[in-house]
Subunit: 342 residues, 2 copies
């Protein structure tokens, strides 16, 4: 009896602790994109369309599984992007487009909305998953952005295997470069003095924004850049506030489009600032930047963005014909879309 009493008493505080009502878990949600551009039904075969939808779905559900298991939004974003980097359909990681010099130069960034910590890499040529390297820059260095060989040297120091250029080769991306080079050589105004890369075209970039059970936002972006782009050109994807931004006070966002306009507008930071300083709701702020400011600066067909606020509200505006996009909202509702009219 005495022993039993002791047993009971000593466990009371423990029982009391576990009986204490836990903070209700925050609703979770994830949104991803696989690039915006001239994506129309007439240019797409049913087979290709099915592949793109399956690729988006796989990335989306991989990221969502992390959230569902109580994982961090940063990890969910990274997991979703990794799937798209490994899928040759998307212009990131394997399947990255070729620059003017025939090389694959990749950029990526990730940002933590809870701490405003960020990591990014640009101009890497041998990194299987640039988003993983961006995460390492954030977690393991005092820096935000590492570029080129320095970034790859850092990858090696972290035990990352550098991949041969052949890993990134895909026939359709190589053909795209050859076509662009040919047009550049015979196009209007073609000359030896012409700035190489003026026919740089097509944008594909992948990105993700997630909200986890702790109510924390994260955003990430990864890209192979522009076909036939100038050697060393860095776009908006790895630039914090341009193509990638996250702040728990406002939103997470990832852009895809003609990076230079996103950089000149600091597009994703502007969405956040419209919310923070002007009190705009997410959808209106994202719309203002993508459908008005971006169009005003660069015209139509300049791109799109995905964004999510701390309530899990989602915006996916784009001024192009289509944008590969998908989300699972706070109600668990899953949506995958490609064209404007769906």
């Amino acid at each position: 009896m005495r022993y039993l009493l002791c047993f009971c008493i000593s466990f009371v505080p423990v029982l009391a602790m576990s009986a204490e009502p836990a903070t209700p878990a925050h609703p979770i949600a994830i949104v991803i994109h696989g690039g915006a551009g001239t994506i129309t039904r007439k240019d797409m075969t049913p087979g290709m369309e099915a592949q793109y939808r399956a690729g988006l779905k796989q990335a989306l559900e991989t990221g969502y599984a992390v959230l569902k298991n109580g994982g961090r939004s940063l990890d969910a974003v990274q997991a979703a992007i990794r799937v798209m980097e490994d899928n040759p359909l998307f212009n990131a990681g394997k399947g990255a487009v070729f620059a003017h010099n025939g090389k694959n130069e990749m950029d990526a960034a990730i940002m933590d909305g809870a701490t405003l910590k960020a990591g990014a890499v640009a101009g890497v040529e041998h990194i299987k998953n640039p988003i993983d390297l961006a995460r390492l820059v954030m977690d393991k260095t005092p820096h935000v952005l590492l570029v080129g060989e320095g970034a790859e040297e850092f990858a090696s120091s972290q035990g990352m295997t550098l991949m041969p250029a052949s890993y990134f080769y895909t026939q359709h991306r190589w053909d795209e470069l050859q076509k662009a080079l040919k047009e550049e050589a015979v196009g209007p105004g073609a000359s030896a003095e012409q700035y190489p890369g003026t026919t740089a075209r097509g944008f594909g970039t992948v990105g993700a924004v997630a909200l986890d059970r702790r109510g924390e936002l994260a955003a990430g972006t990864s890209t192979g850049g522009l076909t036939n782009k100038y050697y060393g050109r860095v776009g908006d994807s790895p630039i914090i506030g341009a193509g990638t931004y996250a702040n728990d006070a406002t939103c997470g966002a990832s852009g895809t489009g003609t990076g230079e306009y996103f950089m000149r507008l600091d597009l994703t930071k502007s969405i956040s600032d419209l919310m923070l300083y002007k009190g705009m709701p997410l959808a209106q702020a994202a719309d203002q930047m993508v459908m008005h400011e971006l169009v005003r600066l660069g015209g139509m067909d300049t791109g799109g963005a995905i964004a999510m606020d701390k309530n899990g509200d989602i915006a996916m505006p784009f001024n192009t014909e289509g944008m590969y996009r998908a989300y699972i909202d706070t109600a668990g509702h899953e949506v995958v879309k490609i064209y404007r009219d769906e």
Copy 2:
């Protein structure tokens, strides 16, 4: 008499045109910085102090002369920065600090407030005046940011002479690197796994903001980065919205400090957005970002910024012991300062 009459009549319209009141020329002003940091009277000899003041004055007056002659703010910014890049006292161009690998890696950016056009370069090693190359990226390419060898290849294609590494060598910067490497090797927590560059220190960066007779703002920044920084690390200077920003609707601004905090805050764009979206006056917006947000994120001694609005009002907040800074305001009043208490 008849001839005289004809003469008079025929010139009437011309006289009328020139008599028409011309749009009054907009007031002009320029503000520059040569870096913020632990700059105290006790660490400075009178001779060194005089050299710094003379260097700032020369850069300031060179930029101002452009404005006075009716030149563009972009040209004034570029001219002022070029003078500081050529002066070995400042950490930009000649006099740039050494990275961990013993190389000089330089970054620069310039932005046009009238058009939001921008040009930037990062990680260049052989460019005498990185600000000139940033301007060429803006004027001659569809891109905003070129990095590393790609940027240098572009420089060559534009007829720019690449300088040997020896041009950038200065004994005092080399000694700073040796001291940092030594401290890293014996400092607390020193180990083979330690991230190289954790003792990266000291910031010097040069920048300028100008307002021209057309009422247009421009901003530019140039830097040698951090002593002992990791190979390939890019800071805030070449990042539009982080270390450099200009928008005629709000302000031009250039930062100097621990670049990573400026990048995570998009510090110069935030000053602009506080003005644009919250209606804050320049001084209050600059103060909010440098003295509050920057301190909140990174603590004291993290840096400073210069900023100017379209009226020529000037702000120069810094949370460090000192900041090399100078301006000529719209009244033509010239000021050169170094320490906090002046």
